[in-house]
Each structure stands twice: as C-alpha cells, then as structure tokens.
Amino acid sequence: MPSASGKAARMTSHVGRLYSLAGALLAFFLLWAVIAAHPWATASASDPRLAALAQRERQLRANAALVQKVVDHRSAAYRVALTRRQSAIAAAKARASAASAASISQASSPSVRVVTLPPLVITKTS
C-alpha cells in the first residue's frame, strides 16, 4: 500500500501535469472538430438556398429552351423570306436581261445612204 507522501508526490509530478494538459487540449480540439463537422446534419436535409438555386436553374433552362424555340422559328421564317427574296431578285434580273435581249431584235429599221464623207470607222470581215 503506497504511502500518502508517495501519492502526493505522483500528483504533483510536472511530467504528469504536462501529459494531462496535452490530453485535455487534444480532447478539446477533437471535440471542436467533431462539432464543427455537423455530423448530426443528414445529407438528405434540403438547404432552402440550394433548393432555390435548383429551381432557378430549371427556370432558366426552360426559358432558354423557349428562347431557342423562338429563335429557330424566326430563323426558319427568315430563311424562307430570304429564299423568296433571292428568287424574286433572280427572276427580276432574268426578266431585265431577257427584255434587254429581246429589245435587240426589235430595233428600228436601218437608215443608210452613200455619201462622199471620209469614214469614221471601217467595216471589215469579222
């Protein structure tokens, strides 16, 4: 059986105190880390901000799809109008060219006579 003086000596040991202090500090930080990690919060628990973000994303996706649909529709309408316009321009050009070509064969009757003037140009075998 240890004596009372021996027990007191162990309890006032500096080394023992240091170990006790280090253990207490370690236990304190471990507890802090555990509390900071919120282990009691479940993964399925819904954060209202995340839910709002998700809803906002869905709304934006829906809006984007709607805008894309409108753009596609307008683009298709524009392409149809462009094709019509290009056809109209081509037809107008063809008409103008054909009218010009036709007018060549409808020129007025020639008028010519022999004169004694010096010629401005000479006609030769083509």
Partner: protein, 289 residues
C-alpha cells in the same frame, strides 16, 4: 467625239460617243467593256469554262442564261429564214477545217493546220426559253463567232445610247444609235462611205481569217450545206440590218448565195448591201446608189 478602243472576242472593239468629254463617258465605256467580257465568258467556244462550252460538252444545258437562250433563238430563226445558209451548228465543221483554237493561234504565220473529214452541219437544236433549257442533237455543237460579236455590239449600243449618239464596232459588226455615222466599206476601187443613221452593218467574207492547211488554204466562212469553207464568187459582203446580229446573218447569207443571187435577194428584200466580187468588181444593191 470620244473614241475608246479595246480588244475582246478575238477582235478590236471601237466605241464612239458623240458627246463632249464628261466623267460619265468613262464609266459608260467601262461598262461596255465589262459587258463584252461578260458575253465573251458566256459565248466563247475557246473557253472551256464558258456556258457555250458547257453546252457543247454536255449536249444539254438546264438553267441557261437569258443571253445564251436569246442568241440561240436568234441563230435558229436566222437558220430558218436563210434556208440554212446561216447555221449555228458549224462548230464541228470549223474544227474539221482547222479552226480548232483561237485565230491568233491558228493564223500564226507559217503554221499548217491539219484538217479532218468534213463535218455535218444543220444539226438538231431545241430551245425552251420558259424552262431555260437548250438541247443539242448527238454530236452537235454550236458556234456563235460572228453573230456573237454582233449581239455584243447591239448590247453595247444599248448601254451607250443613254449617253448620246453612239456607234460600236466589233470587228466587222457595228451598230449605231442616233447621229450620222460615216462608215467605210473597202472595195478594190477604194473605200465607199455609207452614212448610217440608225441600225447596224456587218461584213462577212472569205478575205480574212484564212489559214494554211495540209490540203490548201482554208477560211472561216463555212457553208453549212457542204460542211467545208464556202466556195463563192463573192469575196465579201457588207449588209445593213436592224441590228448587228441581224446584219451579220444577212451578210453571211448573201455571201454564200453567190453574186447573182445575192444581188437579186438584196434588191427584192430591200437589204442595203455592198458586194465585192472575187474578180475585183463591186456592186451596190438593196437600194444603195
């Protein structure tokens, strides 16, 4: 008077505009030059990328340009009107005679061109303007050498006309609009001057565009009825017509008719013409005196 010259369609083109110099005339001449270049790109048989070459290669052309359609129509009308003396299907005959490249190459001094057996002319050609379609018979190919220049001269005149009285001469084919234009016609006895007020004039004959072949001399005036260079007592004929394309057809047709018949036809049909015979004499016909 303003004069502008350039080379196109294998010949010299002269533009005369009877107005004072202005900044507009320069652009007018430039537009005419561009028009000649455009038509040459369509009508040349020597350019492999021309519309005519494409038609000749394929024997059929869908979506033909209005110019090619119109000139083909004009040529076919002329063939019918002249009883085949004018024919756009002389391409193979020209090639057979040795005119198978530009005349600058064919006509080089001292070059003897190999000839081939005569080719048939008066081939099948169908034009559908509504469908923009031209169809050729098997082996048929078109050449618009003379009438093409006349057509271009007419188009050029149309472009210049708004600027004032004008005359366009493309080789022998010339067209005038407004004004009085003294035009010289060469004969053995000198130059006869014809004053052209409106209309056109063209000269056709065998005195130019001649070349040497292994079988003798040849020229570009093909008789479609024989498929070989024409033998006629006329050296050249200058005819006056409504348009240069029309005048070109008249000149060629009269030249192939022979002197006696050509004078009769010119008088009967009222075609003012100067006929130069191979023997050196010249005859005025069709009301010219």
């Amino acid at each position: 008077m303003q004069r502008f010259e350039f080379k196109a369609m294998g010949t010299n083109v002269e533009l005369l505009l009877d107005v004072p110099t202005s900044r507009w005339s320069g652009s007018a001449f430039a537009s005419v030059r561009a028009e000649f270049a455009r038509l040459e790109a369509i009508l040349s048989r020597f350019r492999p990328d021309s519309e005519l070459s494409e038609l000749n290669r394929a024997g059929r052309l869908d979506g033909a340009s209005p110019d090619l359609l119109r000139i083909t129509e004009l040529a076919l009308e002329a063939r019918a009107r002249t009883g085949g003396r004018f024919d756009p299907t002389v391409h193979n005959a020209l090639v057979a005679a040795g005119y198978d490249r530009t005349f600058d190459e064919v006509g080089a001094d001292g070059v003897v061109v190999a000839t081939r057996p005569p080719a048939r002319c008066l081939g099948f050609v169908s034009v559908e303007p509504e469908a923009s379609e031209i169809v050729l018979g098997p082996g048929v190919k078109l050449d618009f050498g003379g009438i093409g220049k006349g057509y271009a001269a007419d188009r050029a005149c149309e472009l210049l006309e708004p600027f004032g009285p004008c005359l366009v001469s493309a080789g022998g084919d010339l067209a005038a609009r407004g004004g009085l234009w003294p035009v010289g016609v060469e004969t053995h006895l000198g130059t006869i001057t014809l004053e052209l007020t409106s209309g056109a004039m063209a000269t056709s004959g065998s005195d130019r565009r001649r070349w040497s072949t292994s079988t003798g001399e040849a020229h570009h005036l093909i008789d479609p009825r024989t498929g070989v260079p024409a033998e006629t007592d006329l050296l050249r004929v200058t005819a006056v017509g409504r348009t240069a394309a029309h005048a070109e057809v008249l000149a060629k047709s009269l030249c192939l008719a022979g002197a006696e018949r050509a004078v009769l036809e010119a008088d009967e049909l009222g075609i003012p013409a100067v006929l130069t015979l191979a023997d050196g004499t010249s005859v005025l016909a069709g009301g010219l005196a």
